[in-house]
């Protein structure tokens, strides 16, 4: 028995693969729900209800989806070029830190600059901080062949400790009763509400616009062509005259900037100040989301909303039927694995009793 590549994957199969994967995921997760002693049907109904079943649920889900879209895009563009950026979590935090640093200049007053100037500055600083954080690993990869998975992953821990140091030291808000948190952004620098009586902020619009822009970049531009070609076959791309190292660096800057923006938008849209528990692993979830979306920027939006809905819904289900919220992590993880297997089967077929793949 072995796998044989399909010459072409049909549209129907491409669409069916994620649906089958989700069905399989729910089936597997239901075993755990049963084990926790809750009725499966009711638990899933509550989960879906809690994630997507009401105005409030949608508000929470979209709020949660906003940073996930951005980190998902960061992972998707990097993975397209085979730059395995596992460091979106760290890039998100340096982005947030840069945002509160710029926004909170001069004791929170920002030198009395107009918010019209200060807000873009804040976002640029965040994007730059994220981009620069990934630049090192990208250069080390393209120049020295250092594995970027290791360097970006380890940088996450360094960044978190650095942020912790800043929040406990120079950037600590003196009025926060000793809590390690930054000075809050002035109201003019915070993002407005997108939907009344919810926490959904205009950052969602920003994330959606960036998703469309990234999709167009990959599909229509020479840069996008280079990214796809280098990711699919770096040797052939180099042969055809593409600057493979420079493409890797460009992708790194783009990916890091997106993750950095995720941090800044989260601060400006939701929390208003930076704490160390701002992100429950949005950077890592971004990887899952990118894979679920098959690295397609528009798919990232859908995948981010799906994951956010599961996370939000699991919270409310857990309160109602006493299944631990960790079920959400299980569902998201299993869905990733089954998605990967489903994609594999969409691209390959299983062949029994054959060793060689060619008849000749």
């Amino acid at each position: 028995m072995h796998l044989e590549r399909r010459a072409q994957t049909s549209r129907a199969l491409q669409l069916a693969a994620p649906l089958i994967a989700i069905a399989f995921t729910l089936a597997v997760s239901s075993l755990l729900v049963l084990w926790a002693g809750a009725p499966v049907g009711q638990a899933y109904a509550l989960l879906i209800e809690g994630g997507f079943g009401s105005r409030f649920a949608w508000g929470e889900t979209l709020t949660r989806a906003t940073p996930l879209i951005l980190t998902g895009l960061a992972a998707a563009v990097a993975f397209r070029a085979r730059l395995f950026n596992i460091g979106a979590e760290g890039q998100l935090y340096v982005g947030a830190l840069a945002a509160v640093a710029v926004g909170g200049l001069h004791g929170g007053s920002g030198f009395e600059l107009s918010p019209w100037l200060l807000f873009p500055l804040m976002m640029v600083a965040a994007a730059l901080a994220g981009a620069l954080l990934l630049l090192g690993p990208a250069l080390m990869k393209s120049r020295l062949g250092v594995d970027e998975v290791v360097t970006t992953l380890l940088l996450n821990f360094i960044v978190l400790l650095f942020v912790s140091m800043m929040l406990d030291g120079p950037m600590k808000d003196p009025t926060a009763m000793g809590w390690p948190q930054s000075v809050a952004l002035q109201d003019a620098l915070q993002l407005g509400k997108l939907i009344e009586r919810s926490r959904v902020h205009t950052g969602l619009l920003g994330a959606l616009v960036l998703a469309v822009l990234l999709w167009a970049l990959l599909k229509f531009t020479t840069t996008g062509f280079q990214i796809r070609a280098v990711g699919a076959n770096a040797r052939a791309s180099a042969f055809a005259g593409m600057p493979v190292g420079w493409v890797t660096v460009k992708v790194a800057l783009l990916s890091g900037a997106l993750a950095g923006l995720a941090g800044a938008i989260e601060v400006a849209g939701r929390t208003g100040y930076l704490t160390l528990d701002m992100s429950p692993g949005y950077g890592y979830s971004g990887i899952v989301i990118a894979m679920l979306a098959a690295l397609n920027p528009l798919g990232v939006v859908a995948a981010a909303i799906f994951v956010a809905g599961i996370l939000v819904g699991a919270d409310s289900m857990s309160r109602a039927v006493n299944v631990p919220t960790y079920i959400a992590d299980v569902i998201v993880s299993v869905s990733l694995l089954s998605m990967l297997v489903a994609t594999l089967f969409a691209q390959y077929r299983v062949v029994f009793n054959r060793r060689a793949s060619h008849a000749g």
Binding site: A236, R355, A356
Partner: protein, 517 residues
């Protein structure tokens, strides 16, 4: 007399494809049977059925009158069928004896039976006249010697009780120099003299005629002819193989008119990662309207030479000029200067398999004004270009999805046509200044080979300088005006083709003549 091997009505289908269609064959003891056919003709499938890798849909296999249970490699081994694969399956860091032991011995024995194994090895080697030192490390052996070890391994490890009786060799000369091939043919004579039956798989007509007693020709899964080698000739076999007459284009002798020098290498030296020179003081001069071929066994520096002229590698010493200019080691600069490039490995280097045909058609030039504006790809123009390339260079296999077909779905020949078209159409109707073709027909079937050869000859007639790097001496003699031989990074003088004999080239390929003044 019972034949050593009898295949009766073997049919194997893969979906709608009939890979073997009611094939019946016999192999006598002491006979060399050549299995001749193009890629995809069904040779490998047939052998895989024989060896138990596949199970035939219909038909039977008998070894000395005993039916062979289908789909069991172990049964094939026990019946005395040995196989030598095209690509060696030896562990370089082990000795010859260890390699023979490997995979022969049951893994659950507490001790390895080295003494018995050594005795069996020495005994078999003596019986068949295969000279090999059992304690030599495989890494230190030449390619020809390694193949001898493979054959020995097959002979020792199969049918241990009865001994090997049938040996299958899959494209055994693909990696050998002419001299090593000669010595393999001598070995085969000794094997059959001992009563072994040999199946020799090949698509090279000369050696099939030279070595076999009978020839079975497969085409499109069918056995189209079985004939004694004495009654066959090359033209007839080629026609049987392809199903129609194939005109192999040839360079007319004296067709080259001396024209302007296009590219010059003087003392070109390139060092590998370990500091050793992979290209050592190579000098060569290429002229417009002339085909120069580089002969040699793979791995003697041809790759470095090709990469130099592809613009992918830096010179460590010496001089490289294209039309009187020193060139930077940047692929785009070489393409802009009008160099058409055909890489050796079409799958890994020539195309990006996951991208569609149209994107690969403009892979080298997507950023030029013809195909992009302000950083946005002109999809219409690019697809149009790909479509005309497909039509002009007869790229097949794109019926269903057109230019959106994923490139990896193309066959090797069609992929090569795409690469050829991409390189030759780069500058409109203008012939390229220089064409660097690294093993351009490797693994292609005769029809595609003839096509590639014709394109190279046409371009040359239009004034391109052509550098052909090849391991196939037939190809070299058919096309080249001048021939140089590469060995251990050294390049011999490029002499007119008429001044070389096959023996000279064979000697030069093993380094005998290259260093002589």
């Amino acid at each position: 007399m019972t034949p050593a091997l009898a295949l009766t009505g073997i049919t194997k289908r893969f979906g709608s494809l009939v890979a073997n269609d009611a094939i019946s064959l016999t192999l006598a003891q002491g006979e060399v049977l050549a299995l001749l056919g193009e890629n995809g003709a069904g040779k490998s499938t047939l052998v895989s059925i024989l060896f138990g890798h596949y199970r035939a849909d219909e038909g039977t296999v008998e070894v000395f009158g005993q039916p062979l249970p289908p789909g069991q490699p172990k049964a094939a081994l026990a019946a005395g069928i040995g196989m030598v694969h095209q690509h060696f399956t030896l562990a370089d860091n082990l000795s010859v004896l260890d390699n023979v032991l490997l995979g022969t011995e049951p893994l659950w024995l507490p001790f390895s039976r080295r003494r018995e194994a050594r005795a069996a090895l020495v005994d078999t080697a003596q019986r068949f006249g295969l000279q090999v030192d059992p304690d030599a490390r495989v890494a230190e052996l030449s390619v020809g010697e390694r193949q001898r070890v493979e054959i020995l391994k097959a002979l020792v490890s199969v049918g241990q009780r009865k001994g090997a009786r049938i040996l299958i060799l899959d494209e055994p000369t693909a990696v050998l120099t002419p001299a090593e091939a000669e010595s393999l043919f001598a070995t085969l004579q000794q094997l059959v003299a001992q009563g072994l039956g040999v199946i020799f798989i090949s698509h090279k007509l000369d050696e099939v005629l030279r070595v076999s007693h009978r020839i079975a020709v497969l085409r499109g899964g069918k056995l189209v002819a079985t004939l004694p080698a004495a009654e066959a000739d090359k033209a007839m076999l080629a026609e049987l193989m392809v199903g129609r007459r194939v005109e192999m284009p040839r360079r007319e002798p004296d067709a080259a008119v001396p024209q302007a020098e296009v590219c010059t290498l003087r003392g070109a030296t390139v060092r590998g990662a370990n500091g050793r020179a992979v290209l050592d003081g190579v000098s060569l001069s290429l002229h417009a309207g002339e085909i120069v071929a580089i002969a040699g066994v793979a791995g003697n520096g041809q790759q470095a030479l090709a990469e130099l002229l592809f613009g992918l590698r830096e010179l460590d010493a010496g001089e490289l000029m294209l039309q009187g200019r020193a060139m930077p080691a940047r692929a785009s600069a070489w393409m802009q200067a009008g160099v058409a490039r055909i890489p050796e490995d079409r799958h890994a280097v020539g195309v990006v398999g996951d991208l569609p045909v149209w994107e690969n058609a403009v892979l080298e030039r997507f950023a030029t004004p013809a195909f992009s504006k302000l950083g946005v790809i002109k999809r219409g123009a690019a697809r149009q270009h790909a479509q005309s390339l497909i039509e002009r260079y007869d790229v097949r296999g794109t019926q269903s999805a057109g230019v959106d077909t994923p490139t990896r779905a193309l066959s090797g020949g069609n992929m090569q046509k795409l690469i050829l078209g991409r390189a030759l159409m780069a500058d409109g109707e203008k012939a390229p200044v220089l064409i660097v073709a690294d093993q351009p027909t490797w693994g292609l079937d005769i029809g595609a080979v003839a096509y590639v050869h014709r394109q190279l000859l046409d371009a040359c007639a239009k004034g391109s300088a052509v550098l052909l790097i090849s391991e196939d001496l037939d190809e070299i003699f058919a096309l080249a005006d001048r021939i140089a031989v590469m060995h251990h990074g050294h390049l011999s003088e490029a002499k007119p083709a008429a001044q070389w004999t096959l023996t000279d080239i064979g000697l030069a390929m093993t380094g005998e003549a290259v260093h002589a003044p």
